[in-house]
Amino acid sequence: MTTTTPLTIGILSFAHTHAASYARILSAMPDVEVLGTDPGPYDPGTVRGAGFAAEHGVTYVEDVASLLAKAPDAVVICAENTAHRELTELATVAGAHVLCEKPLATSDTDAAAMVAAADASGVILMTAYPVRFASAFTDLVARVRAGQLGEIYSILGTNNGKMPLAQRSWFTDPTRSGGGALVDHVVHVADLIDALLGEPAQEVHAVTNRILRADAGVGVETGGVVSVRYPSGVIATIDCSWSQPESAPTWGGLTLEVHGTAGSVRIDPFAAHVSGYDAGGELWAGFGADLDARMIDEFLDAVRTGRAPQPDGAVGARTLAVVTAAQRSVASGLPVPL
């Protein structure tokens, strides 16, 4: 029988809906004590704060300072995007390792500061990119490393979903999210490409619009496509649009298609499902491994062993740079070098 070191993990804010998944996974672990705090603000009619903590097996703590005073081994930050830096800096000063929800931050300056803060305190900073842990992606990486695809020259990625729910209005408030579909959905695909190619993006061009969900009157882009060139000459397209209709039976999905001189692979890690019909129309019963659980396992193992996990803060910063370059490209109408 193996034993593991008991850990105390704090969840800082329940603003991101992924907090529910992380809380469920962590609270099911026998050797982990889960604390949580939720500074707000809360959208009307939503269960947040102590109520949310009670529903998800989390011990609620009054505020961030009180939580950090309990000296957690690590924290998971699920705050609004613009709050990531401050919470990371507070946590790292308190000596806690950090798993931060994506995007790592909303400016390159903030992202660099977060990486520096973790380094200065000698703690881990990991970026929450669960798709890295999809078997479809690890299989793709293995094939590429084995040379089955030859030399990669062209990549197409999509990450399309429904516009985030009204219960989390901060997603479409640029002062708290940093932007719309570009901020929400470019980074996952950019991260997979970063891991696959092992090189950062070189030049970014982007176009966006606000036709989808124009009825919601949000102040951010809802449709967007980003064109990226990498130093090796690889060209890539990333479609980040919130184009999954509300009537669809599932949240959306992510695809990555990689073409090499000797082979091609397309992955669709969220495609596995049983389909059918229920009283409301189309039915989608997804199945497959819990990628959040794999990501949490990686984080906790790194916390316990002191090794450096992936995806780390540095890749969080490199992939955020694709987003901020895309935002500058939209503003200028021109490609932006990195």
Partner: protein, 339 residues
């Protein structure tokens, strides 16, 4: 409808599906080609003509299926001989040449039809009908994707002769982007080509901004020899989404013993409802009745102009603006001006 008398000029890769289409229409076909005319004629029971001079008196229209760079010269010769012209896409290697063909046909009182066959593929027709019926609301984001094993003939990779993947393959989806989402105002493009162990490969990735505010991305790959032909699209509107992926079509499943399937350059189609036969029938009906077909000569000019903007953006690295009204480009002499 009478049987058309057709001069099929060229006997290369695409000639077989055109020949089958003409045979289905009961056409009287005479083949003229530098290479392969007799083999093609024998296969389909057609006759041959050794020279264009010999061909003209035997036909009412020509169907040009030669390499791209020869399209305009052959089309102009046919028009001068008073023949209607059906021409494989692209209508010409340049929009200037394409516009000259359309202008010459107008002056001579004959018809020109560029063979943008994807307008006859039923999945794209169904999408257009659904959009026009308002089923997905206002188009916001459109995605077009097309790939196959790279063609083997050298001229496909010779930019001067073919325009490469952009003018030969992607032009289908550039045409679709405007057919389904309206005129394009701005183009940004990247392209790449590489020599691999199995032959040359190429890819182009294009962002389009439509005058409506919609955005499209168009993605093309000529890949390794094992890459199967597939095309797909997704059109997201503010009230719904349309999706088609040939790779997910499931009408027939066949698994045979023997060597594994390789890739291919052309899509598999329903032989009883061939889009190639459908386009030739539509063109012939339009000629006979004097009505419009689903593709006009000016559409062929516009598609080449759009492809030229793609090439210009890929070469310059900056976006290229296009005249907003497709009709404007029919007689324009520019390929779009870099910003």
């Amino acid at each position: 409808m009478s049987a058309p008398r057709v001069g099929l000029i060229g006997a290369g890769g695409i000639s077989g599906v055109h020949a089958a289409g003409w045979r289905a229409l009961g056409a009287d076909v005479v083949v003229h080609s530098e290479h392969g005319a007799h083999a093609l004629a024998d296969t389909f029971g057609f006759r041959t003509a050794d020279t264009l001079t010999e061909l003209w008196p035997q036909v009412d229209l020509v169907d040009i299926v030669t390499p791209t760079a020869t399209h305009a010269e052959l089309a102009l010769a046919a028009i001068a001989a008073g023949k209607h012209v059906i021409c494989e896409k692209p209508l010409a290697r340049t929009s200037v040449e394409a516009a000259a063909v359309v202008g010459a046909a107008e002056a001579a009182g004959v018809r020109v039809f560029p063979a943008h066959v994807v307008r006859y593929f039923p999945e794209y027709v169904a999408a257009r009908d659904a959009i026009r019926a308002g089923r997905i609301g206002t188009v916001a984001v459109a995605r077009f994707r097309r790939m196959s094993a790279a063609p083997k003939a050298d001229w496909f990779f010779d930019e001067a002769r073919s325009g490469g993947i952009v003018l030969d393959q992607m032009i289908h989806d550039l045409d679709q982007a405007e057919w389904l989402a309206g005129p394009v105002a701005r183009v940004f493009a990247r392209s790449t080509a590489k020599a691999g162990d199995g032959g040359r490969v190429a890819s182009a990735a294009v962002l389009l901004t439509h005058t409506s505010g919609a955005i499209s991305h168009v993605y093309g790959v000529w890949g390794h020899p094992g890459l199967r032909f597939t095309s797909s699209f997704e059109i997201a509107g503010d009230a719904g989404l349309l999706r088609y992926d040939m790779a997910r079509s499931d009408t027939v499943r066949v698994q045979l013993g023997g060597p594994a399937d390789a890739g291919g350059y052309l899509p598999a189609t329903d032989p009883s409802e061939s889009p190639y036969a459908a386009e030739l029938a539509d063109f012939w009906a339009a000629i006979e009745s004097g009505t419009q077909a689903s593709v006009a000569g000016t559409d062929g000019v516009r598609a080449v102009a759009l492809a030229e903007a793609v090439l210009a953006s890929a070469a310059s690295g900056v976006p290229v603006d296009l005249p907003a009204d497709p009709a404007d480009s029919a007689h324009s002499s520019t390929e779009g001006s870099p910003r």
